[in-house]
């Protein structure tokens, strides 16, 4: 049941308990308890809204930064990664296979903000060899949601 609940929450974290209950075949109370325990266990870390900021008129600056790191003998990439993860500017951070090691998504109010984070903070961390910053120009899709609004298409209301 927990797996089914997680699937539904991943699709819509604001789905009502009653709807989840109906769809997984449980009572709302059971669903509530299951979600609570998933939160307690740390499987669910939070709930987040997916925004299309371009409709909002707020212009945050986002950048994807590829970072090369010298792994430590004791602990590999984890220590550097955990250090980088603590910066609030960093919204996402992954260890990646291929030509670089860490992939960061960084958010700031302006280009300047992000640039100074990279030069003053990120590059100076012990173990960071090089960084390559790409500023995000347009968002097409996030967390499975496409940003472009399709033309409305109405299916027949009654058909055989």
């Amino acid at each position: 049941m927990k797996a089914k609940i997680l699937n539904l929450l991943a699709e819509n974290a604001r789905m009502s308990l009653a709807e989840i209950a109906g769809r997984v075949g449980a009572t709302p109370e059971e669903v509530k308890a299951a979600i609570h325990s998933l939160e307690e266990e740390g499987v669910i870390r939070g709930y987040k809204v997916i925004l299309n900021e371009s409709d909002l008129g707020v212009s945050k600056v986002r950048a994807l930064i590829e970072v090369k790191v010298t792994p430590r003998r004791d602990g590999g990439f984890d220590q550097v990664a955990e250090r980088i993860a603590r910066y609030p500017e960093v919204t996402d951070l992954y260890l990646i296979s291929g030509g670089f090691d860490l992939l960061l998504m960084v958010e700031g109010d302006s280009l300047q903000d992000v640039a100074s984070f990279v030069s003053a903070k990120l590059s100076t961390i012990d173990g960071v060899i090089s960084t390559s910053t790409g500023f995000m120009l347009k968002k097409y899709k996030e967390s499975g949601r496409i940003m472009q609004n399709d033309e409305e298409y109405e299916r027949l209301k009654v058909c055989p």
């Binding site: 009502s16 009653a18 709807e19 109906g22 769809r23 997984v24 075949g25 299916r155 027949l156 209301k157 009654v158 058909c159 055989p160």
Partner: protein
Amino acid sequence: MMKNMNDSKCAHREFVAEHVKQLPKSGIRRFFDLVNTMDDVISLGVGEPDFVTPWTIRETGIFSLEKGHTSYTSNLGTPALRREVCRYVEKNYHVSYNPDNECIITIGVSEALDIAMRALLNPGDEVLYTEPCFVSYPAEVRMAHGVPVPVETRFEDEFALDPEMLRAKITPKTRVLLLNFPCNPTGAVMPVDKLRKVAEIAIEHDLVVITDEIYSELLYEGEHVSIASLPGMRERTLFLHGFSKAFAMTGWRIGYACGPREIIDAMMKVHQYAIMCASTMAQEAALEALRNGEKEMARMRDSYCERRNLIVDGLNRIGLECLLPKGAFYAFPSIRSTGLDSTEFAEQLLKAERVAVVPGVAFGACGEGFVRCCYATAASEIMEALDRMGRFMESLKQQ
């Protein structure tokens, strides 16, 4: 002076053929017109998936156009699609067909059914079919100058076909038995023991069985058994299937028929003169559906299953007795407790609470006392519809 052709004195013979004039307009059509005059309607009245065709299939259709594949295909359909269809049918239904001459690609099951009737029936031949049923069946038979003979299916049999009721309707003129399980509108499936008995009756009376298995992937309990796979049935069964429901491709109009060469050959003649071939783009998209669409299909099926549980629980809770349908995406609750007939129920519900359901009588006389609620609708809409229907039921009690 020009003669006024609209002059009533200018008598002419009947333009419309008698057997077409006699065809009733689909009961759904009238209801559709009524729904369309209203806003804010939650519709449980559709007969199609609420998913858009999976992207990989759509993209293949687009690519087909980009490549310039815009000419006719072979009458039977592209060899690649026929091969893939036969592979799919063998794997999932355990009947093997030769793609060269035992399979034809059609414009949905609707066309397959039409050309099958035209290929199989002599005027006056009787076709048995189960009711309640898809609205086209009796009309398809009449258009081919056959005589449609309904066999009732009942709530107490979970709307499965009772072999003895079938037997009672057989006459020397009976030629064809038309089956549709899982069933639109009841969601019923055929238990294997009953299916075996039906097969025995078909053999005993030398009937051709046409089996429309368009909903067979959308099965939520048990395993689907095609009558074509039962002993002695392959040679007298025409297996109809398509992509509309399982792959959410209703608007593409693409389906197929598999059967004995003699029947496919005959259907092919009608098809080549009437249709030529199914659209090339849709055939290429359908091929992609069979090659890479099964995962998406399973995802959609699981989603229907969740919503089935939601709606059936809800209907029973508000006092509309409803079986748990094992397949398709329709719930078929009884509305007899309200004292209304199904048309009154549907119209009053629509006017009072703006929920559209389809009167059971649209699917045949024995559908009276029931309504069809399609649950291929967003779960949140189903819940809202159930709230509104609950309110409607309360208001009936107070009258």
